[in-house]
Symmetry: C2
């Protein structure tokens, strides 16, 4: 499986090609015509065999084209599977990111609680790093132009100092895995 | 790609089979022998064509066997890829589990800190659940018989009340993804 990439370029459609040995078949055909004194049965056999040979070769070439297309598709499938392999688990971990985000907004008053918050923040950073290493990207929302591909508008607001269609506030963070949106950011948009 | 599973049973080796139309070839061969009055050239052509036909068919059958073996392997590869798809990210998240485990051993004295610990525990449970849904399993170690496949002995102890080779203490939790060990448990073993 490892050398499939080398053998087939991406997006290259494999089509049935004219084989190099077509000439052989044609020559054989010509040979039968050259011999003038032939038994009828003999001629039929030669013709039948020539036809069968061509048929057989066409079958093989169709099979080869199928095979190569299959290999090409298998490579692309495998690449996609590899690229988004973490999609399921990362999607299921988004609520954990939400929980962290909520917990980290709590204001600690005692020194004990502050130490705990520092610990929590450290765990969060390690967690986020591991997900980012796998391709997690937080969607940019605040002050960006509203884009329905990445943002979900759940409220509108009015701020005369900013252009219309600008994200005024982010209610919930959105995330992508590489180029795939796992969850859009929930936002408030300027009217 | 979806119907590959139906077409090929797992572990089924595809071998070159005698084709149904072998009879046709043999019949053709017999026909040429039946005709007694033949030109030498004709006979040669018929023989050559018959040989080429057989050769061509063999080529196609070898190709078919290759193709079916490739399909079978591709299916198995895909299944393995699917099964352990989360291995990389889950492995990278094990230190986060360790951090949680350490943080949760801290004893909270103030009410504020206790509330935080409850929050931390909730985040930990959600986190662990998402990983378990993906196939994460904590390795059983304490009081188990030491097994080098799952446990890494870093200390020995002596407890006369317990049999030799029993895990007395777990220093660090071990984890598996389904049936694959991601990290063995670090343990203290009874001499």
């Amino acid at each position: 499986m490892t050398n499939v990439n080398d053998e087939f370029k991406e997006n290259e459609e494999v089509v049935m090609e004219t084989p190099d040995n077509t000439d052989d078949i044609i020559e054989s055909g010509e040979d039968t015509e050259e011999i003038e004194i032939v038994e009828n049965g003999e001629e039929t056999i030669v013709q039948e065999l020539t036809e069968k040979l061509q048929e057989e070769e066409n079958k093989r070439l169709r099979l080869l084209a199928d095979y190569e297309n299959f290999k090409r598709r298998a490579t692309l499938d495998k690449e996609a599977l590899q690229k988004y392999r973490a999609q399921n688990v990362v999607t299921n971990l988004i609520p954990v990111l939400d929980n962290f985000a909520r917990a980290l907004t709590v204001e600690a008053t005692t020194e004990e609680a502050q130490t705990m918050m520092t610990g929590l923040d450290m765990i969060y950073r390690t967690f986020l790093q591991a997900l980012e290493d796998e391709g997690l990207v937080e969607i940019q929302a605040l002050d960006q132009e509203f884009d329905p591909n990445f943002h979900q508008a759940i409220m509108t607001g009015s701020d005369e100092d900013k252009p219309a269609g600008i994200v005024l506030e982010q209610m919930q963070a959105g995330y992508m895995l590489k180029d795939r949106v796992l969850r859009p950011a929930m936002v408030k948009v300027n009217e």
